[in-house]
Symmetry: C2
């Protein structure tokens, strides 16, 4: 026992020593003092937002209608002058339609009509991106995300006349104003309802070819609006909810931006911000916040998003030739490659079980998705893109082993994941068939062109395939179709999916869209979905990058 | 017909001519350019408020209890450190007790406890002067006054950590904080709940004689708090509701102020403000507002309040010897006398029917009250007080006819209103017996001292007498008792009535108090009553002006 005790004591001593050294190693920032500098560059690049005063276009009423999106349509009501000239005590409620999606600050005036105002007023305001948000009771609230994201506010207006400024930034097309409290001793009207809309999109994108199909034009226009609304002091995921920078959204928004508003400084700012807020081990954090001081969502590590940082940086360099930024941030890209390598098993397959344990693997909202094959594909894609970046920066020496690794992983993918019989890639022990697997294997380019086309064609005809749960994965689907040369199919898929939202009356593209379920919500309450979401804006990119397909 | 037509035309011509001249006469401001100057003096006298940071004393819970005021009592709950150190997501609701009535600005901090805040928070706050306000549901709202006066606010806190500042000034002792929305991804606590309390009472009143009865001391102390809370940039009627200057409240507050805080400049400001906001015919308006610019409640003419302006000015001069102000405002007082004279019938009685038609005759909340006799008494009282003011200003020549008028009106009162048999004054055709009639006849001094005492004694024993509906009229009752030499009765009445509120746990004296009906509300919803109301503060005046009776 005593010997054992001694042995244990020695073991404990060395364990403590080892952990001391490992702690010390952790304390040495892998990027040295760069993170602080990166943050400071990000701060300098913070854009001044463009402000535009927008006014409501009409008064509407909501009518239940099964054929309209989520069961509600708007119908033009009385003229706006009715609001601006007549008693609001009599009207009591109004729904204003600004005619388009806005992100900004709502204000209105209350002006006496009769008598001397002797008491405060109380109003309930509800802001909606889509009509159903105005029509659906929020309480009792059953959603997963904070109830506070829902855009309803109850306000007391102590002085009349006065201008009421809603300090919370709202994302909306519709606003309902309901009177909850007033005095019998005076009457008043509402005037000058307006929204000071903000965006960091500060240029006008070139027009599409005039001969472009009308639906493609509509999709492009709505995509531009979606992007514009999400472009604030960072690329936000959605201006209504979350309202923050995620690497995945940044990637898609920066692609669309490069072909439209070309505010490259915003991309640059976001790349620096994410680098500056990576942890001291060099791990990127999937999402970061700007206020009160820039800070990461601690512990929120997404492996697929981290990899897409590299792709974003490479695309940024390609779009701008800003070698200074790309060189400055190269250590971050290189670190992500090291992370990728650390998960590759000797057989060339990613250690999926370990990755799943260590990271959040997003890829799509669809919870049913087995992500093994998608991860394998994205990793290869990332290695390739990063190697391209290295070459542009003349740093391929630093990634000497990568070309061989790509080959090895590609072969392993083909050997382990491809089912020749069905012409489809499978994923996981249960050999799940999904869009995501085909998409990422095609983008990883592990097949022959014919096999790639076959996989993508077969998946669309596969009845039991796990389908994309949101527009985010749909982007990569369109991308894969184009990469594999299925141009007509790409156009068809884009027109069908995003065109489906257009047909349902979208002003901006939605966070979640399943053509067969308008009420689908990852948060179990559809009004808390974002109806202007960055990751849905990429038709702008496809339509403009590939005019031969879309214009 | 033709002749008639001509006659009619001539008549119409003269009518138009007459109305033109009368309009011209109206356009000539009876006070010349003085009103503008008075407003400017009032503006210069606007006080800087004293700010004090107050913190909650304990956490309480509300317990239904029939023996407590309005059925609710507070019970000490968990220690305050529980709030400041532990999860508010778990606690969800807290009621803070600041230990005393405050008027000011509430704020608190939200601080992360666990995880990175990724979503806004939503809270409901309810501020209560008394426990029942926190416990009684406000909706569906059935009260007569604006629902917006009730002190509940729903707020969204977009950033965590942050300091939440409620911009609306609240009047409260208790605040309930209820969490309506939060994120599952982080936890937080509430810290530094506090109220920046404001008042223009900026001195410490002298202490009462140490031998003063404990109940009298309590009444005095609560009266001082009531007055202090109502002393803002004007004498407000109540800091929770209405929050504005009324002549009637000004009169009572200025009396109490003269014997306590002695902020005579506030009285001066209010006298000038009311004069400056009188109409161009010289009619005072019963209540005025300070924001956005000082303005009157148009058309709100109260005859009894207008008369009390004169008494207030006389009392102000007596307290301060500020002859400059009294001389400056003398034209206003004189004009009110002219108004009074215009209602006196040849028999020495006020033309009550005409007055009732032309004016709001307040006197008391009790709607059952016939106000004829009270008006007759107040008019005589006002004539006397104003004549005293004229003598002080050596302007009695301007009121030459007044002494005779007083005699005539006094005799008429005795002849027409006094019922020798019952020793009581009656009012109206139905010969109503009320406190108000006895009070104002005694204050008008139309009887012998013995008759005065008899009337006041008899009324308290009269089963069917119309009783005071609020502390406002009770002030004049105490005053009448003292004036008639019923000192013990005055002390008894004050101790019983205001002491009744003390026994029920009042921190400040209430707008409405009927010992037999705790739920009485002139607005048909007791939580909208004001529980800190200026017109209830006058025990301060009596206790300190008549130490021989009360100390």
């Amino acid at each position: 026992m005593k010997t054992n005790y001694l042995k244990n004591s020695i073991a404990i001593f060395f364990t403590i020593l080892a952990s001391f050294y490992s702690t010390k190693a952790i304390c040495q920032d892998v990027y040295g003092s760069s993170r602080k500098q990166w943050l400071s560059i990000a701060e300098e690049l913070k854009p001044n937002l463009t402000k535009t005063v927008e006014t409501p276009q009409r008064i509407v009423s909501l009518v239940e209608d099964k054929s309209s999106f989520q069961g509600w349509k708007t119908v033009s009501g009385e003229p706006l002058t009715d609001l601006y000239e007549k008693s609001f005590k009599e009207k009591k409620t109004v729904i204003l339609d600004f005619g388009k999606h806005l992100t900004g600050y709502f204000s209105f005036k209350v002006t006496p009509l009769r008598g001397t105002p002797d008491a405060p007023l109380k109003f309930k305001l509800i802001f909606g991106e889509v009509p159903s948000e105005i029509a659906t009771p929020f309480d009792p609230y059953k959603g997963d995300l904070s109830r506070a994201w829902l855009q309803d506010e109850i306000i007391t207006v102590m002085d009349v006349p006065s201008t009421v400024n809603i300090s919370r930034r709202m994302a909306f097309r519709y606003v309902k104003i309901e009177l909850l409290g007033s005095s019998q001793y005076y009457d008043f009207k509402i005037e000058q309802a307006q929204c000071t809309a903000v965006t960091s999109a500060n240029s006008t994108p070139t027009a599409l070819n005039s001969s472009t199909d009308v639906m493609i034009k509509k999709i492009d226009s709505i995509g531009l609006n979606t992007l514009k609304e999400c472009m604030q002091t960072v690329y936000e995921d959605g201006p209504k909810r979350d309202r923050r920078l995620w690497i995945g959204d940044l990637y898609l928004e920066s692609l669309a931006n490069s072909y439209s508003f070309k505010n490259h400084d915003l991309t640059k700012r976001c790349l620096y911000l994410l680098a500056g807020l990576s942890d001291q081990n060099g791990y990127l954090v999937g999402t970061v916040f700007e206020t009160p001081e820039p800070h990461p969502q601690s512990g929120q590590h997404l492996l697929d998003y981290s990899f897409l940082y590299n792709v974003t940086l490479k695309e940024y360099l390609t779009a701008t030739n800003d070698y200074e930024t790309a060189k400055s941030l190269w250590p971050v890209a290189k670190k992500q490659i090291e992370i990728a390598q650390s998960y590759v098993l000797p057989n060339g397959m990613m250690d999926f079980e370990k990755a799943k344990k260590d990271w959040w693997l997003f890829f799509d909202w669809n919870e049913a998705l087995d992500r093994q094959t998608a991860l394998q594909g994205l990793t290869i894609y990332t290695l390739k893109q990063t190697y391209e970046l290295a070459k542009l920066l003349k740093k391929e020496d630093e990634l000497k082993e990568i070309p061989d690794l790509i080959k090895k992983m590609s072969s392993a993918s083909k050997a382990n994941l491809y089912d020749k019989k069905s012409g489809l890639f499978t994923s996981g022990d249960k050999k799940q068939i999904s869009y995501a697997s085909q998409i990422w294997m095609v983008l990883a380019n592990v097949t022959t062109p014919a096999e790639a086309q076959l996989a993508l064609k077969n998946i669309t005809n596969h009845k039991d395939a796990v389908i994309p749960g949101a527009p985010y994965l749909y982007h990569f689907f369109i991308s894969a179709l184009i990469e594999s040369g299925l141009k007509a199919e790409a156009r068809q898929a884009l027109t069908t999916y995003w065109g489906g939202m257009v047909a349902k009356g979208a002003d901006t593209f939605w966070e979640v869209y399943n053509p067969n379920d308008e009420y689908l919500s990852p948060y179990h309450f559809f009004p808390i979905n974002s109806y202007c979401h960055a990751w849905s804006c990429t038709p702008v990119y496809f339509i403009r990058k590939y005019p031969e397909i879309f214009q």
